[in-house]
Amino acid sequence: MRYLPSSPAEDRALLDAIGVARAEDLLTGIPEPLRLKGGLDLPLQGSEQEVTWQMLDLANKNTRFCAQFLGAGAYDHFVPSAIDAMVCRQEWFTAYTPYQPEISQGTLQHIFEYQTLICDLTGLEVTNASLYDGGTACVETALMAVRVAKKRNIVLVSEGLHPLYRQVLKTNFAPHDDLQLVEVALKDGVTDLADLQAKLNGDVAAVMVGYPNFLGAVEDLTALAGPVHAAGALLVSVTQEALAFGWLEAPGKAGADMACGEAMSFGNKPNFGGPYLGFLAVKDAHKREIPGRVVGQTKDLDGRTGYVLTLTAREQHIRRDKATSNICSNQGLVALRANIYLQLAGPEGLKGLAEQNVAKAQYLRQRLLELPDMEPMFEAPFFNEFVLRYKGDMAALQEACLAESLLPGLDLGRFYPEYQGCILWCATELHTRRMIESLVEILARVPATV
């Protein structure tokens, strides 16, 4: 087997040195009755050629599209070739967590740079080396908010938060009988201020809103911060499309106390939902409550600057059941992709790309609204996603698009019964005017409402 280096003669020499006749003799620690009799009932080993073909066959069974008008938490952006080219250096992708700083300065310095960038984008002061994804980042943030807010046990969650993030939150709050998740309704596509006011009280630790929210709308963090802060709660901004930071003010500067979300947009393809990049940024005052690994700058014995894992007293390997989280392995390599992406983009690139996304989405919306069956839903400003009501037959629309290798937007009925018949559309820099025009042409031909 190509991956197993020892030769038969070497194996023999190893066994002789150990003093056993066969490798199986080393299994004495496993009681005989617990050992597997016979082999695993699985296929035998495959050559590289055979395995390549098998996996290629699977990949090819997925339908390919000319254009995907679907976002909803997974955004298709252009990925510069430099990213894959860097990440595939074995020094990056094969290394472990940088436990030994003297032999891991590459990873450590990268994380320090990544942390700096996340703070810059969010306008906050402290972040960590990454979390699993947007949904679990919401969980860590909500739990942290509860720790920080002490004694307060309610987390209000806007219905504008990604429905799957809310499901993950629900799963993770379920074991905590003392904690409560309460949803805040939407109005005109954004968090309903009246409902929020009604639900705010002295037990509310934090309020989580999308920025932009799942419907693509830009929540007015500043306006929300007023009542939230007045109630003594923390405002948590949740961003599922991090490219919006190129267009929208940093949440930390707009009134949020914490920011979290998903940063897969920085250098990743949709990849069927993972690996993605959860992030969380907080104020300096809260830094000792942050979950996950954190890198800090320090000096070596000779006074040279270097980087180490720090604030480890928060972490599970030191604090065990008192730790701020159980997270150990994170999404390091995806954070590296984001770091490279952001350094390539720079401020001008990020702003420019973000503006192109807005322009494409606005154009898509304008063109779709020319269709008789499409109706506007909300007037709030949006980034690269927006909702339209479709009066036609949803199945027919779906079919017409697929026939032309276009993937339409999300049928919102799946997550919001009240928005049955509405579609969440997305456009990014990858959508050319031609693609948008073909979509509109195809939709124009969909049989009229029955």
Binding site: L4, P31, A59, Q90, Q100, L311, P381
Partner: protein, 509 residues
């Protein structure tokens, strides 16, 4: 080599007007500015301005301050640093996979669903357990999912129960997970052989009595939701009374969670489903060689017994068999089942670290049942070879038969005031990545060495020779060890100041 100096932070090299990314020409009207004035992006304080040339050089040069598995043995115990086949990377990069959207209807992602289903089948057979979810992003996430399954099960039985038992040799993620799942942790003491003690244990130093498994089960009984047991445990030793332990726990209605971080010692050799495990996770980034990425992403699928199936996270990937004519090969279609009322819900936004799962299946197909078993045996042989060669020079605090890793203690060196940290740092000077140190906590000054099956005799010997030379040096020149590393780009770091006055990001001078 060929490194001029430390690579500075990119923020310090930013020069206004440079750019590393060109934008496509905008082919639609420019965006109308619809933002309220106070939500317009005001700017960036750190985001650097660099050309592509400099970004590439920065990350190329920085990479050279790292050590990777292609540099040589990477003997971090418990972390299982295997060879990372390039085939797996190539396959995970196939556009058919990477371009696929997680919100696309099932019919359009049949390849992905078949991929997930197939991997599930492999993991079921490997663990001997009939249920799987691939959603957890890492081992710790798997643990949390597993313990939430336990909780959901008990809740369905009428009471969630209160306590989770965890051996003192357990990884920190175990107690942290139990706490996150709303449980109280009660620690199980270890015996001198490293395994869980059935009897009470008296601390030789302070005389305190720590209750053993039997006492705890007797006293806590129906309060015990379950136990989280690493097997082989973190000393690399199989819990040889595992069946008895699980029987005992089952007798009070508690469930057994197995931390499968060390499953690479069992694949093809023993199956947790055969010795009483109710639920467990696998670290695919260990057992199935998916790369560690400098910290992640990993994947921590959870496998479970029949009675936990209803509680698995949604969606569950299912296969339907399309009936065909007689004698024809049956066709299959795949779908995501979302409507599962007893499910604990979602534990990942989408379906887990899909790209990692692709790599894991590729690993499975490459190895096959024969290769998987062979890998396990060779990993065990390699660990025992190191044990045989270093025994004597380094103390084996626990002398039970090792499986895939061996844990030494620094007690022999401590006589010369040389400690585990010194030994680890000295290895760096010799061009090796150090082993895991000071874990598990039950071994004083632990040096936890896991060579994996990916090392041949030549590399093992080179490593052992170096370890032996260091042991000698500890006797003859302890100061050299205290000073180590001296050949690395940096000497030892001031971690105290780092934690006391944390500098966690760059700020404009």
């Amino acid at each position: 080599m060929f490194l001029r100096q430390r690579e500075s932070l990119s923020f310090d090299r930013s020069v206004p007007g440079k750019r590393g990314m060109d934008l496509p020409k905008l082919d639609v009207p420019a965006a109308q500015d619809t933002r309220p004035a106070h939500l317009k992006r005001t700017g960036f304080d750190a985001l650097p301005e660099l050309s592509e040339v400099e970004v590439i050089r920065h990350f190329t040069r920085l990479s050279k301050w790292n050590y990777g598995v292609d540099d040589g043995i990477y003997p971090l115990g418990s972390c299982t640093m295997k060879h990372n086949p390039r085939l797996n990377e190539k396959v995970a990069g196939l556009p058919g996979f990477t371009d696929s959207h997680p919100m696309a209807p099932d019919a359009l992602v049949q390849g992905n669903l078949e991929m997930l289903f197939t991997l599930q089948e492999w993991l079921k057979e490997i663990t001997g357990l009939p249920g799987v979810t691939l959603q957890p992003s890492a081992g710790a996430a798997g643990e949390l999912t597993g313990v939430m399954l336990i909780r959901a099960y008990h809740v369905a039985q009428g009471a969630k129960r209160r306590v989770i038992l965890i051996p003192d040799s357990g990884h920190g993620t175990n107690p942290a997970t139990a706490a996150m799942a709303g449980y109280e942790v009660v620690e199980l003491p270890s015996r001198p052989d490293g395994t869980i003690s059935f009897e009470d244990v008296t601390d030789p130093v302070n005389g305190k009595v720590r209750k053993g498994l039997q006492t705890l089960v007797r006293e806590l009984g129906a309060e015990i939701a379950g136990a989280m047991i690493t097997n082989p445990n973190t000393v690399g030793v199989f819990e040889y009374r595992f069946k008895e332990i699980s029987d005992l726990l089952h007798s009070v209605g508690a469930l057994v969670y197995m931390d499968g971080a060390n499953m690479n010692a069992l694949v093809g050799v023993a199956r947790p489903g055969d010795f009483g495990v109710d639920v467990m996770h696998l670290n695919l980034h260990k057992t199935m060689s998916t790369p560690h990425g400098g910290g992640g992403p990993g994947a921590g699928p959870v496998c479970c017994v029949e009675k936990l199936l209803p509680f698995l996270p949604v969606p569950v990937v299912m296969r339907d068999t399309v009936k065909v004519g007689e004698g024809e090969v049956p066709r299959h279609t795949y779908r995501m089942a979302w409507n599962r009322p007893q499910s604990i819900g979602k534990v990942h936004t989408f379906y887990g670290n899909f790209g990692i799962l692709v790599r894991a299946l590729t690993y499975c197909l490459s190895h096959g049942s024969d290769g998987l078993k062979e890998a396990t045996l060779r990993a065990i042989v390699n660990a025992n070879y190191i044990r045989a060669r270093l025994k004597g020079a380094y103390a084996l605090h626990i002398d039970s038969p090792s499986l895939h890793e061996v844990v030494f203690s620094d007690t022999l060196q401590a006589k010369h005031d040389v400690h585990t940290l010194d030994i680890a740092k000295r290895l760096i000077d010799h061009g090796y990545h150090p082993p895991t140190i000071y874990f598990p906590l039950i071994v004083p000054g632990a040096l936890m060495i896991e060579p994996t099956e990916s090392e041949d005799k030549g590399e093992l010997d080179a490593f052992c020779d170096t370890m032996l030379a260091i042991a000698k040096e500890a006797e003859t020149d302890p100061e050299a060890l205290h000073q180590a590393p001296t050949l690395a780009p940096l000497r030892r770091m001031d971690e105290t100041t780092a934690a006391r006055k944390p500098v966690l990001r760059w700020t404009k001078a």
